[in-house]
Symmetry: C2
Subunit: 111 residues, 2 copies
């Protein structure tokens, strides 16, 4: 099956995760998906099969760091938080996002 309605754009997931961690502090994966979905007013849905690999990727790249902790509900969970490199990356990706969306918007308006 090709692109479905709920697919996010390739490349935006990292941006979304970094930004959410920046705004919310340490979060575990499950909460991240819920949060992104809620804040985006249900416009975005992050699949767990996308999120966890992405988190591992980002951890290896040093953008986030993780440690085991407990949720409010008393379950053990892997808490992720931004590193300095993650903050830097966020700034870059944000800028890049602005550039790309501006470019596309221009084409959509007056191509």
């Amino acid at each position: 099956m090709s692109k479905q309605k709920n697919d996010i754009l390739q490349g935006t997931l990292t941006l979304l995760v970094l930004r959410t961690l920046e705004a919310q502090g340490a979060l575990h994966g499950y909460a991240l998906t819920a949060h992104i979905q809620r804040v985006s007013a249900e416009l975005l849905r992050v699949e767990e099969g996308s999120l966890y690999p992405a988190l591992h990727r980002m951890e290896q790249e040093g953008l986030v760091e993780a440690q085991w902790g407990l949720t409010e509900k008393g379950r053990k969970a892997r808490m992720y938080s931004l590193t300095a490199a993650g903050k830097k990356q966020l700034a870059e990706e944000r800028q890049n996002w602005e550039r790309l969306t501006k470019g596309v918007a221009r084409v959509l308006r007056h191509a």
Copy 2:
């Protein structure tokens, strides 16, 4: 090398091409890249190695149709134009784009 500054977002190329053909009528590939680059105020750069495969893909999916013709400069060129299905697809992709960018914008603002 991972993401470079000039990479476009996966999924937007089709949208850009459909929209440009809608606005400009029949165009050949070479002109498409130039046009998108110009209209986007140099924010977007479509590589030929991305464009031609994309055009062939879209032709096979019936979104565009092609025929050999001549450019203003007297060179033979493959002219692409929108089909009815392409117009429909454009409307869909446009809507999807709006949804996604709205969602991301929300997260960037108040995650």
